[in-house]
Symmetry: C2
Subunit: 235 residues, 2 copies
């Protein structure tokens, strides 16, 4: 299911951070011109196909990544072999923070869609971070955000009935810009995010569709009935 791909195959060019279109929202937002001059290692861009892994749990973490577009799931495996998705990483999020500490990756990172990422050496961030207070702060903020996300997954997506969980997940998947639209992933992945089976997920979503809480406009693109979904999520 998960294809192990050499990143060589996915290479799509060298990044130009100074002129990055995400420059304001990205980890390096606070860097000045003199900081960029200190970046000597090349920063590469990659394009991942759905199902392809960016890294595996236990790999030595030499690199960190910024997601430019698309989405990745962070997976942890249970002793019995089943998997649980512990977080989603989307545009402008950072992958592999643990590499700064020299830890190995804690999850398997797998693309859910076509996903573009920038890769940079963790050592570079470590060095810049000790001298640049803005980056230092930004790093802590990223960790805190990841932690808040983790807590939210526990309280919102792993608590309550399957119907509530699905509703809460749908509401979390909408993005600014299209506040009532939502792109859905495969039922198996949704189930692994919610801690329920594929069948239960499918049944619940099918029921939502029948009740017009979800309307499929294009394949896998849904318009949400926000008020009623919120009601279900909270009841």
């Amino acid at each position: 299911m998960v294809k192990t791909v050499t990143l060589r195959d996915a290479w799509s060019g060298e990044a130009d951070c100074r002129n990055c279109s995400l420059r304001t929202s990205v980890l390096f937002a606070g860097l000045q011109e003199r900081d960029f001059e200190r970046i000597h290692d090349p920063i590469d861009q990659f394009t991942l196909k759905p199902g392809h892994a960016l890294y595996h749990a236990g790999d030595t973490g030499e690199f960190m990544f910024t997601v430019r577009s698309g989405a990745c799931k962070l997976i942890q495996y249970l002793p019995d072999g089943s998997q649980r998705i512990v977080r989603l990483v989307r545009t402008s999020d950072v992958l592999g923070l643990e590499a700064i500490l020299g830890d190995c990756y804690q999850h398997e990172a797998v693309a859910l869609q076509v996903t573009e990422v920038c890769r940079f050496p963790a050592r570079m961030v470590r060095d810049l971070g000790t001298e640049n207070p803005t980056l230092h702060r930004e790093l802590m903020a990223r960790w805190q955000r990841a932690l808040s996300e983790a807590d939210a997954w526990l309280t919102q997506l792993s608590t309550g009935s399957a119907r509530q969980r699905v509703a809460r997940l749908l509401l979390r998947l909408v993005r600014e810009g299209a506040p009532d639209e939502c792109h859905l992933f495969g039922r198996e992945d949704l189930g692994a995010m919610l801690g329920v089976t594929t069948e239960t997920t499918s049944r619940t979503i099918a029921e939502f569709k029948r009740r017009r809480l979800l309307v499929e406009t294009k394949p896998n693109l849904f318009v949400l009935d926000l008020p009623n979904l919120r009601r279900i999520a909270e009841e």
Copy 2:
């Protein structure tokens, strides 16, 4: 249930960080003498009784805390009013990391046992951290540890049958020094950690006791049958 206590009532003295018995394992492990000279604000110690809150979600986070002994639960509430325990904080752990960023507290922190904490201003850590690479690194490591804990709670304690969850929680509660002993909390708290009801938790633990997987030596102190509990946890 949760008593809101002014910390004034729980004050138990001023800390002497230089001679702290936890000095080597605590956030300030890397501080040098010259760093301590820069600490002018007093660092107070408090002793909390079970059920008493250290801070509430949404409070402005001015302080951080180190747990010297005991244990606190970090609670988040769901829209319907039910609560979920998202993490435990125990000896030498840090509470309120988010305060460094100026965020308000994300959880309600409530003592599960008699708990001693040291309180220090977040601003102090922020200032020391920007100039002290060791502390800087230690802070990131603390965040990473919290994140790993959060992921583990999701995959181990919120996945699988109630029997598996209880077994995994028991195995997580043993501490170095007494590798097969474990102090249990109230059934309601255990349930809130596992995402199951009080009754299910009670039934499961009672069943474990009947099957001799748990033997109560003192009130609420249990000796564990590690091999068999591991088997249940992983099956």
